[in-house]
Structure formats: C-alpha cells, structure tokens
C-alpha cells in the first residue's frame, strides 16, 4: 500500500468520532432516500405491472339499472376498446363466530368465467360454477382475516333472503389493492369482503336480470378520457347513471396515488436537508484538517507530489466519510424499506411484491452521497492543491479580525473578554456560523414537522368523532327508505337514539369547475351526526342553501355567498342554483350538506332516508347485530366505535415509531453539527485557550468560551427552527391533502418546546464531550507545537 494511502487510513481512524458524526447524518439522507425513493418506484412499478397484466379499466361508472343492450352503444363510443358490464351490490354478511355484521360487495362474474377487465387473480381454489347460486369466490385478505379456506361457508342477506354461500376460491383484483369498506377509515378485512358471484345468481339477487348497474371501460391509446366520460354519462343518464370517472378517482387507486405522492414528497424534502448538512460538515472539518496539515501539504509538494495528487488525497478522505455514510445508510435504508414493505403488505393487497428496492436506488443514493461529500470537500481540497509549497511550510498568518460596525456595537455592550472572543469569532466566520445555525435550525424543524402530525391526528379524531360523528353505528339502506323505517330501527334491541340522513349523488358546478360528490340532507335537529364550521361551532344548513367542506369549496373556487349549480344524479336529475351558506371543517372526504326539508320540497317527495345513525346501549350490542344480520334491505353497517378504536390504535403505534425516528434524526443532525463545530473550534483555539489557562483562567471559564459559541448559535437557531418547522409542516399538509383526506396544520407551543428541548440537550451533550478533551489538554505541549 502506498504511504499516502496509509496516511489516509490512519487520518480516517484518528478522526473516527467526527467522521462518524458526519457519516450518521449522511447515512440518514441515504436511508431516507432509499426508503422513500426506492419504495416510491417499487410501488409505482408494482402497480403498473399489476394494472397491465390484469387489465385495470380506464373508466368506471355506476348506474341504477341499465338494460343489457346498452352495452353495444357504449362499445360504439369512439376511443372505447373494451366494455365490461356487470352487476354489483352490497350485502350484509353473517360470519360464523363473528358477533358483528360484516359487509360484502358482490361483483358479478360473466358466464364465461373471468371478466375481460379488472381480471381477478385466482389465488386458491376455483371460480364459482356459472350455474351455481350459492357459490362465491372471495378476496384473499377477507378469507385470511376470517380464517376461511375454499369449501368454508357463511351467510349473506341477499335482497332480504338469508342464503348460505360456499367459498370456492380466493382472489385478488387490481380494483381492490386498497380494500376499504363503506365508512371505514382504514381497511378492516374481517369486516369487509369482495364476493365474486356468477352473473346469473348476482342478477337474480339484485333484480338485474337483463340489466347491469356497473360498467368498466378500457380505452384505446389515442382516446380522450374526458370525452369518453361525457359520452358515457350521456348514455347512462336516462338509466340513473351516477357519473363516470377515470382511474385517478377510483377509490383503491386514489389511495395508492396518495401514498405514492407522500413518498415522493418525502424523497424530495428530507434527503436534500441531510445531504446539504453533510456537505457543510465535510467542508468545515476538512478545512480545519487542511489548516492543521498545512506543513504536511507543503512537504508532500516539496517531495514531488503533484497538486492533483494532494487534492485527491483530501477528496479521498471525504470519500471515506461518504463511504461510511453510504454503508450505514444502506443498512438502515434496507431495514426501513423492509419495515415499510411489511406495513404496505398490511394495507395494500398486491398479488406479488416487487417491494424490493432496486439497485438503481442504491446506486443513485450512493452517488448523491459521494457527490455531497465531494462538493463539501472540493473547496478545501482545491485550496490544499493551490497552496504553494514554500508558503505552506510557513506558519499561517493569524486570522484577521477587524473593528466593524458589529464589533463596535459589541464593544458598547461592555461584554467580558471571553464573551467578546465568542462573538468576534462568530463575526469573523459569518458563513460558518450561519451554516451551523441553519443546521441546528433544521434539526429543530425536523422535530417540529414530525411532532405536529401527532397533534394534527388528534385534531382529526376530535373533529371526526367527538364533534361530528358521535353515533356508534350507521345503517346503510340498499335503497332510500321512507322515514318510517326509523321507527322500525328504533325498536331494535339496544337502540337509544336514531337519526336519519339522505345521501344524494350530485355534480356541483361553479364556472368552469365541477365536482361529483354525495350531498347529505340533514334534519336541523340532527345531534348524533353534526356539522362543524371553521370556528368549531355546530351549524345546520339553512333552508334553501348548501354548506360545503372547505377543501371542496377551494376546489370549486367558491366563497360563502356564491351561488353554485347543483345537478342531482338521482331521481329526476334536476338542476338547481343554490347559494353557499358557509364552509365546514372536515378532514375526511369532500362533504356537502343541505337541509332535509329543502331537499324533499325540491324533489316534491315524501321524506326518505338512506342511512340511520344509532346511539346504542353496549350491553345489547350482540342482540342488535343478530337482528341486523336478518334485517332486509340493509346494504351495510358502519361501526364507528370500531373505526375509531382501530384508527387510534394504528395512530398511537405509528406516532411512537415516527417520533422515535424523527427525534433520532434531529439528534443525529444536532450532534453532527455541534460536535464537529466544537471540535473544529477546539482545534483552532487550543493555543488560545491554553494561553488563557496559563494566564490563570479556570477550566470552567475556558470551556465557557469553547462551548459559548456553539451554544449561542444553538439558541439563535431555535426561532429559525420554529419558522422552518412551521414551513415544512405547512408544505406537508399541502402535499398530503387529497380528495380523500386532509391534514390540518395544528402546531401547539408544546411541539416547539419539545423540539427545542431535544435539540438543545443533544447540543449540550455533544459540546460537553468535546469539553472533556479540553480538560485533558497538555498545556505545555500545546504551547510548544508550531501552528
């Protein structure tokens, strides 16, 4: 091995603590990049492959009841490649050993077996026989969650008739990668299942013989999706079409989109912070090493090493630091990606897992890490290369301090000499001081941005459950029912309070903007289910008006007082102009609310309801569910209490994990910046500090000078960190907001305090470690060595 390489390795070993502090920060960047970018690619690739192989449709629409011959007309729409019509419906399931009801979504299978679009993948068993009326294939997660294997059976309330259904096989479908039941906040596979049933049986059960109520299309390559959707709507309108939509609005797909968007945001926002800080740290440490090795550089040149060789030597030192960071990052990133993949496996139902981070992601992250370290090292390494050997052999000129404006201001403060030393040093190297402050501020910001999600989720839960949806259970009726059904429900065991609501599919239009939503018509006295405005007040939609969720209003560019056009996609498909009376705070979905009587008047109909909200006596829950399983005309039940508990459990678990990860990250950044900063200062000031000791300053006074600068910068970093944290949190709420959900920007003083506490404590500990070296300083040796 060349002597210069031996020097390199020994220098690296000597600098291990500083190198490690940098490598950990760099490693964080690599790990997060690998995880987010790698998973983003993996998720997108997996989805794309799955969609292609199993022919996920491009356009979907549901309708009340369309005659089968309409299929030919749909196929004739220019741009349509394949048409798949089918019968879908919702049923209440009675699962052996399960007290509560479960909900099943029935989807018909064509007589030939598999459909042409949204082709399910048979995972076990076989398809139900085309003639069979009591056979179904179910989605694999539903079978797994309930312990079903092919051959097992359960009961379903099909159109008022309780039937035993036998499972012939388990399947997965590109339509249900994220399988979420009506009213669920997250997948609950035991409570919601997909049942594939032969067409004849499904049509008989839902009274759809010779008709269909769901259609999926694939388009030709050159098709205009929006145009096809318009044409399809025109064809389905007379048959109660609920409005066609594209892939991007398909429920399962939009959840995956949201996840992919989050990963992309993460890959874009966090890693650059780490790479930037690493570059700064490499720069700071290497500049100091080169200052210390000035005469060695002179010697290397004197004995004939070229500028390029000297430059390369120091770049390689940075390269070794980067390499350590890469190794750490690869380790942590692979582990994180694995953990995330396992988490995805819980939520997303893919038939195959391409959840392996590609070699590209490893290569790219390593290249970026090397680039960041190289960039940080470049200036110093070039300076080393440019150093003339004759000058390098001479001691460097003392740093130039001057009496600037700031200095005179400091003088006016009559600070002690040690305090002057601290402040002058900050002013002497303003860029370094600025970057140190920024580094520490980013640590604070990362903590703020991480902890804020905890408060935000609390707010979401509070608004969703404590304030808005206070019912225990919701019953979804297969068809809208006269309000008298509420009397029937009230007589069910354990029911304390009942409220009915009507849901109406509608398209809202304002200028060029439009949005399909479900409008909820509510009696003004509704108390279980409430609507909350921006100030937290309970509001009821005034008669003749409409209330909109704030995000929906933003999408339509509507202010309270504006008039919007509302086209109802049900009943007579009439269109009305309605003033927007106000905005509603809502974090799930895009809600729109109207007064119950107003709707009945507009539709000239006797009052009807689509759902019943119940407050129940927990003691009678079992009896209630036993009755619900038999109740005709019920399409589903929503267990809000269950939903809330599951949501809280998942969040509690995730919050602990996330807070731990981000606090670790913040501590790593802080230690990386503070430790290296203090080490560099100790090295620069060893003689100065030793002189002070010889002059009679105590250890405490001398270490105050050393720690002073870092701590002053750490304090200055706090307000900056809060502002940056607020900005990151804000951009996260913007980035994560979709039609499905939104995250409120909730920042409590405790969040800022906690972030500052973690960073300041980490900072003090890091500086104290360096201070120990000061205690061991050999005064005589320091004074003797040539600077």
């Amino acid at each position: 091995m060349q002597a210069l390489d031996i020097k390199l390795l020994r220098d690296f070993r000597r600098l291990w603590a500083q190198a490690l502090a940098i490598a950990l920060v760099l490693g964080c960047g690599v790990a997060i990049f690998l995880t987010s970018f790698g998973m983003y690619n993996a998720l997108e690739d997996t989805r794309a492959a799955y969609y292609e192989r199993n022919r996920f449709a491009d356009v979907f629409s549901e309708t009340r009841r369309a005659p089968a011959p309409l299929e030919a007309e749909i196929a004739a729409i220019p741009g349509v490649a394949t048409v798949e019509t089918r019968v879908v419906g919702s049923v209440i399931l009675d699962i052996p050993g399960r007290t509560q009801t479960a909900v099943g979504r029935v989807i018909s299978l064509p007589n030939g077996g598999m459909p042409q679009l949204n082709i399910p993948l048979l995972r076990a068993g076989r398809l139900p026989a085309p003639e069979a009326t009591d056979e179904v294939a179910v989605n694999e997660p539903f079978a797994r969650a309930n312990g079903f294997v092919p051959g097992d059976s359960f009961h379903a309330n099909l159109n008022g008739q309780k039937r035993q259904l036998t499972i012939t096989g388990t399947m997965l479908s590109p339509e249900f990668i994220y399988t979420i039941g009506p009213g669920q906040m997250m997948p609950d596979n035991a409570a919601f299942g997909i049942l594939w049933m032969p067409e004849r049986a499904a049509a008989a059960a839902f009274d759809m013989t010779g008709a269909f109520n769901s259609v999926a299309l694939s388009l030709t390559r050159d098709a205009q999706t929006a145009e096809v959707i318009d044409r399809l709507d025109d064809l389905l309108d007379p048959y109660g079409g609920f409005g066609a939509y594209g892939q991007e609005t398909q429920l399962s797909n939009s959840f995956i989109d949201a996840e992919i968007m989050q990963l992309r945001t993460l890959a874009m926002v966090l890693p650059p912070v780490f790479f930037g800080i690493s570059a700064f740290l490499v720069n700071m440490v290497l500049a100091r090493i080169i200052a210390l090795e000035r005469s060695e550089i002179g010697l290397l040149k004197a004995v004939g090493y070229s500028d390029a060789e000297v430059c390369q030597h120091y770049l390689m030192l940075a390269g070794l630091v980067a390499l350590s960071g890469i190794v750490l990052g690869f380790g942590a990133g692979s582990w994180l990606a694995h953990a995330l993949a396992r988490l995805y496996a819980d939520f997303f139902d893919f038939p195959y897992l391409i959840f392996r981070v590609s070699y590209d992601a490893y290569a790219i992250s390593a290249a970026i890490a090397l680039g960041a370290a190289g960039l940080g090292a470049l200036r110093s390494a070039l300076a080393a290369a440019r150093l003339s050997p004759a000058i390098a052999m001479q001691p460097p000129a003392p740093p130039r301090y001057s009496r600037g404006l700031f200095d005179r201001a400091l003088g006016a403060l009559r600070l002690s000499q040690p305090a002057m030393m601290v402040f002058r040093s900050i002013l002497r190297w303003p860029v370094r001081a600025g970057l140190t402050t920024l580094g520490l501020a980013l640590a604070v910001a990362v903590m703020v941005a991480a902890t804020f999600t905890d408060d935000a989720l609390d707010e979401i839960l509070d608004v969703a459950f404590s304030q808005s949806n206070r019912q225990d259970t919701m019953l979804l009726f297969a068809e809208d029912r006269p309000v008298s059904v509420l009397e029937e429900v009230r007589r069910l065991p354990g029911v304390l309070v009942v409220e009915g609501h009507l849901y109406l599919a509608a398209e809202l239009r304002h200028g060029p903007r439009s949005k399909q939503v479900a409008i909820e018509a509510r009696p003004p006295e509704s108390d279980l289910s409430r609507v909350i405005d921006g100030t937290g007040r309970v509001v009821a939609p005034p008669p003749g008006t409409i209330l909109l969720a704030d995000r929906l209003a933003a999408q339509l560019n509507v202010q309270p007082g504006d008039v919007i056009e509302v086209e109802f996609l049900t009943n007579r498909r009439e269109t009305f102009q309605l003033p927007v009376a106000g905005l509603v705070t809502q974090y799930f979905g895009l809600g729109a609310y109207m007064d119950f009587d107003t709707v009945n008047t507009l539709f000239r109909q006797a009052p009807r309801v689509s759902t019943a909200s119940l407050l129940i006596d927990e003691g009678h829950e079992d009896a209630l569910h036993a009755r619900l399983k038999e109740m005709p005309g019920l399409a589903g039940t929503i267990m809000l209490t269950e939903s809330r508990r599951a949501f809280e459990d998942t969040i509690a678990e995730n919050v602990v994990i996330m807070t731990t990860i981000y606090a670790t990250i913040a501590i790593l950044i802080t230690v990386g910046v503070a430790y290296n900063g203090a080490r560099v200062q100790l090295s620069e000031r060893a003689r100065e500090l030793a002189s002070l000791r010889i002059l009679g300053f105590s250890r405490g006074e001398v270490s105050a000078i050393l720690m002073g600068e870092t701590l002053v910068l750490a304090l200055a970093a706090q307000p900056l960190g809060w502002v940056l944290g607020w900005a990151i949190a804000w951009s996260m709420t913007e980035g994560f907001t979709s039609d499905l959900y939104a995250i409120p920007l909730v920042l409590k003083p405790a969040t800022f305090a906690q972030a500052s506490l973690v960073v300041l404590v980490a900072c003090v500990v890091a500086v104290l470690v360096v201070r120990r070296r000061l205690d061991n300083l050999d005064l005589v040796a320091v004074m003797k060595t040539r600077e």
């Binding site: 000597r14 040149k301 004939g304 500028d307 040539r786």
Partner: protein, 235 residues
C-alpha cells in the same frame, strides 16, 4: 567538482505584503557545483531560505534566471517544477516535517512511492543509523532521530541535490552532530550536492564553500582549505 549544478543570474524575489515591498533577494549571481557541500550563512531575512526555496522549485523568482544543469527552472510551470522536485531534489527542514500518522519507514516510503529509482526505505534509514527504529512513529523518537528520518526520506530517492534548511536548528549539540555526520556521509558516499542553511557559524567548517548573505545579496563566498569532521566542530 567544477561542473556547476546550479547557476543563478540576477535572481531577485520581491514579496508584496500589502503595501510594503520586501526584497528578499536582490540580484543574486551564484554557481553551485556538483558534489560540493555548501553552507549558506547570514542573519534572518537575508535571503538564504528564499534562495533555497527557489533552487528547490518550491517558489518562483520575481526576476532573473536559475538553471539546474541545463534546465532553466525559472521557465518551468507548476507541473514541471513538481516533476523536477520529484526526480532531483531532496529536502531537509528545521522542523523535520514528518507525517505524524506514519512510521519512520512509511515516512520514507512517502517519497519512494513517487520516485523513479528509489532505495529501499529500510536501506535509507540504515544509512542514517536508524535500522532499529523502522516502525516507530515520530512521537516515539527524539528530535535527532526525527531529523535523521527526514534525511533518510530526502536521500531515499537518490537525489542529485540535498537542500537543508536549518537541519540542526531545533537540536541540541549532540544530536546535531549526529545529523551533520549523516549529511556529510551522504555527500561523500553518493556525491550528492548538499546545500545547508544555518545560523550556526561553526557548521561552516565542515563545508567546501561558505556563501554569506546580507540584505538579499551575497556578500562573500569563501572556500575551506581544511574541512573539519562534524564531531571535531566546536559547537
């Protein structure tokens, strides 16, 4: 010994230290011959080190010319000077300038790695009497030993010239003598042209010639009729 190895003509060097111009060398004409051991004497700031740096290709002249044999050093660019230092010149400094993280052998290897026809590092260390200290680090050696490592490092590439800037400046008389013995031995054994800067006038007595500097100029050049061995020099 009459073949000049270095030739300078009207050599001058001006340092511009922010306003005040310092004439470190003010028109130096000098010839140094192959195989000679020359001592440069003079007070601080008289221009000795500046001359040595320019002869060694560490620094550029402001005006005038320098030849190493047939090569005009003042015409070389950075790359040529690096090449020149790598192939022809050995340096010994007052503060040894050893790399603390490398052992004696590795410090010498630093030079042999890039030299064209080097000795084995152990051989070079043997020449300065350090065969038993090969794997010691600088911090484990005395000043005299460290300086001898520096000499071994300088001679390991078999240089034609050895430039020594105050080689005994940081040493006591006993270890200083050891170092001078090593320099004399190398000069005689390999015929290496050796130029030594010193403040210690007594050392002049081991030289072939003594060049005296004052205010950037040469004030005298004398030839020793009888040279003394280092251990006979009255320190």
């Amino acid at each position: 010994m009459d073949r000049p190895i270095f030739r300078t003509k009207a050599l001058s060097k001006v340092y511009d230290t922010g306003g005040a111009k310092v004439h470190a060398l003010a028109g130096v004409d000098l010839e140094l011959f192959a195989g000679e051991l020359a001592v440069l004497l003079g007070p601080s700031g008289s221009g000795k080190s500046t001359l040595l740096n320019i002869l060694g290709g560490l620094d550029h002249a402001s005006a005038g010319k320098v030849w190493f044999k047939d090569i005009e050093l003042t015409a070389l660019r950075e790359r040529g000077l690096t090449r020149y230092r790598r192939d022809h010149v050995g340096f010994v400094f007052q503060f040894y300038n050893l790399v603390p993280s490398l052992s004696a052998r590795e410090n010498v290897q630093l030079v042999t790695d890039v030299a064209r026809d080097p000795m084995d590092p152990a051989e070079a260390l043997g020449l300065v009497g350090l065969s038993n200290r090969l794997d010691h680090f600088p911090a484990e050696m005395s000043g005299g030993e460290q300086q001898r490592v520096a000499i071994a490092r300088a001679i390991a590439k078999r240089p034609e010239v050895l430039l020594c800037d105050e080689p005994t400046g940081a040493l006591d008389s006993k270890t200083g003598v050891q170092v001078l013995e090593a320099l004399k031995d190398i000069n005689e054994r390999f015929g290496t042209t050796t130029i030594v800067i010193t403040h210690n006038a007594a050392i002049r007595r081991m030289a072939h010639r003594i060049v005296r500097f004052q205010d950037g100029r040469i004030v005298s050049v004398e030839t020793n009729e009888t040279r003394l061995a280092p251990h006979d020099i009255d320190w």
